[in-house]
Symmetry: D2
Subunit: 258 residues, 4 copies
């Protein structure tokens, strides 16, 4: 995923569990993604959770599991960094770095990412702050690019509004706006805004139809026993059906799901 | 458009100018819609405008023009009512009544609509209040249905948020949520939230892909000289291209654009 | 309350139940207000409720009770109108008309109020729409004033935001902004935004301190058995304490509570 | 400022420039605060700015200036930390640490603050995230306190809403709610939400009246030439008038301004 070549006729699916919980869990997901012909797996090792007493992820051990599983199934990994320590660990074993919504305005982290990746130009997914305007989100990316890495993918993931039937309000218009106002490809995380798996497929279809370059979807082999965000993660079966359903939509747009 | 049979494999396009300005203007639009094989035309005769000194619509004369033009081109008309006077006028000459976002919580109007249409069961499009939760929007429809007319179509049109790159934030998730929590079909007005015509096509594609039963799109023969909301209205050419582009998406979902 | 002379050294307290429920209930409130030396009583006869099956108010019978009670205790009454019928009833027996947040963008109603009161210039409290910008709220008042009645009082009552610890977010800054951008006095309804009586006193103090010309506070002789919004209504005792507490604040600003 | 004893009859004013720009600038402010009998000065050395090309503060050199000036005028300093580097610098020379709104959900920073200050228990002002619910803001403080420092002051500074007449919407109700739902004192930053100096005095009065334990106010000797946020900073003269105006309000509440 080179952001420079991302705005072509491919729609990248980035699927996987909210958090890596065990090797068995991630193997199950990777095997399935590989079977479906997909390329990217997401899995959180460091989880910025609202509550310090919630599951915070497996940390560096999680990165090791991710590396092992993705190597085995020839997938590319996407995982979040939250500070300099996790950044340095991730650089060694993760294919695509992610900055979460809670750190979009942590400019010290953005600068560090730009600085330490300016040679490798490893792709960086910059999630939109949940209360950031599109213009602020694009400007935040400058903190990374001006240090030398402009291999950036913007990711809409829902914003804070008064509506409470979903966890966040997916700002689908931001895809079109960001693609017009920046040079970067735009991904849509359809799981975090939904907050429940039932409406995830509709949102994924909408994301593909409106021109997203990538779609991030949470998938778990056993959502009901997930250690975090279980309600919004698709089962492997539901995910397989979704992929089958969005392929014709991509094709209608002369695009290919990978 | 009977709301009971709307949730089938048709996607209704409801296109037309923000406001009817003249017979020539509306004839140009109706002729084009007819040529494209579409069925519904929207045109405002009564316009609730923020500023009392802005163009307020042609009023009852506008209804007369709408009736004449739609009869000529065998289209069905959709137009807004804002009070009892406009309601009584519209009942005689308009095919589908619309309640705008600014009147969704004008419960006296909703009751009057239900009361005066309970025999004819004329379809009523209830736009979502710009700061109404999905649950409140659905509950508001009860004011109409409990008076005897349950031929209701819910219409998402964007909500108020902090984001200012669009006029309102289109809450695309609300389509899925409203279809699960109500018995009514759901329409998406993609023009008012966009605020500019450039992103309207992407939003229309998203609306179709995520399962909307109808899509409302502002079209004007001469957007730059429109008396209201010129920036967000598509030209006839841009609209024709959009219809060509969304047909394959509808087909991918086994649906037909009408 | 003439809006032209309202911006002087008086702070008007407008207290009373959310809805008039019975003569006994309103007598209890009026007697208490009179004892405390206050001037205005609020009581809703027509209640625009989210749900058509909730208590909708006593209607015109409520206006009769309000007139009787306020006459007895020499108070001025404030009550909401929701359509032309209630407007004509209210003109005959209510001292200050109120337009609620749900009807701020019901421009037909605003025009009717301006038109039918342009001789008497009866004061009209225009509550801010829950998702209206300050500029839109002020502009809405033009619908009334341009028909001939500019005896208008603007009333902030809380706006829709993501915060859910209160029912609405009281936009205290809007008091200062509205006083700078309009010629009208500004009232603050501290009960509807709070949603619970516990924080109402703090908000009332803030409203007085920041320069509000009037403060609207819900008071009920028996909040736990109120037919609507019981949680946010103060008991007579709590209200009496609040008045005692805000008098020194008003005095610190060289103002008088009436 | 020990948060345990802060909820007494004192209202702490924390005034000073958005950013320390030079020794002369800060001396002018400190001298004035000292003359007015105040105790705390705020000044940013590290400024998290939206745009990487905006003035980012003087960094560690700024901390040195702050230490020198506050020592000279016997004031206590408040300044922001943005990462581990600035944290370690600040611990040596700043009296009260501040976490800004953009880092409230930077949990790695919160943990580091708790960890490195658990012996000294230096006070930490935790500003509310601009889109954080009150409950999330209080929960975020647990990241600091569970590492051993519970000398925390919560600071409301305005939230993101649709209203654009102010920079952010000051959620005045959050003061009462946070004081009920946490054990910590609550400060109100009245400058950042206002966005313009004209309404700052009204907001400061409201903050004191509703029970805030501290009020943060931006003051600059030459606002028009300030390197950041010039519009919202009070001049020394305007600030002096404000202090004179709020003293009687504090007194009306049996509180003292320090």
């Amino acid at each position: 995923m080179n952001s420079k070549v991302c705005q072509n006729n491919k729609v990248r699916i980035i699927a996987g569990p909210c958090a890596v919980e065990s090797e068995d869990q991630l193997i199950a997901v990777c095997k399935h993604l590989n079977k479906l012909g997909l390329t990217y797996v997401r899995a959180g090792a460091y989880k910025p959770r609202l509550n310090p007493h919630s599951f915070q992820g497996l940390g560096s051990a999680g990165f090791d599991i991710i590396k092992k599983c993705t190597n085995k199934y020839n997938l590319k990994s996407v995982s979040e960094v939250v500070d300099e320590k996790s950044l340095h660990e991730a650089i060694d074993c993760i294919d695509v770095l992610q900055v979460g919504t809670r750190n979009m305005t942590n400019y010290s982290l953005l600068k560090a990412i730009g600085y330490y990746t300016n040679k490798t130009n490893i792709p960086v997914i910059l999630k939109r702050g949940m209360s950031s305007k599109v213009s602020e989100w694009i400007t935040a990316s400058d903190y990374i690019s001006e240090k030398g890495n402009d291999n950036i993918i913007l990711c809409e993931r829902g914003i804070r509004t008064f509506e409470d039937s979903t966890r966040f309000t997916l700002d689908i218009s931001s895809v079109s706006v960001a693609k017009r106002q920046s040079i970067y490809p735009v991904c849509v995380d359809v799981s975090h805004s939904a907050g429940n798996a039932g409406i995830v497929p509709d949102l994924a279809k909408a994301a593909v139809a409106c021109g997203a370059d990538a779609v991030m979807i949470e998938v778990h082999p056993d959502p009901q026993n997930a250690k975090c965000d279980g309600l919004q993660q698709l089962s492997l079966q539901a995910f397989e059906k979704l992929i089958a359903d969005i392929k014709p939509i991509a094709k209608a747009l002369n695009k290919e799901i990978i």
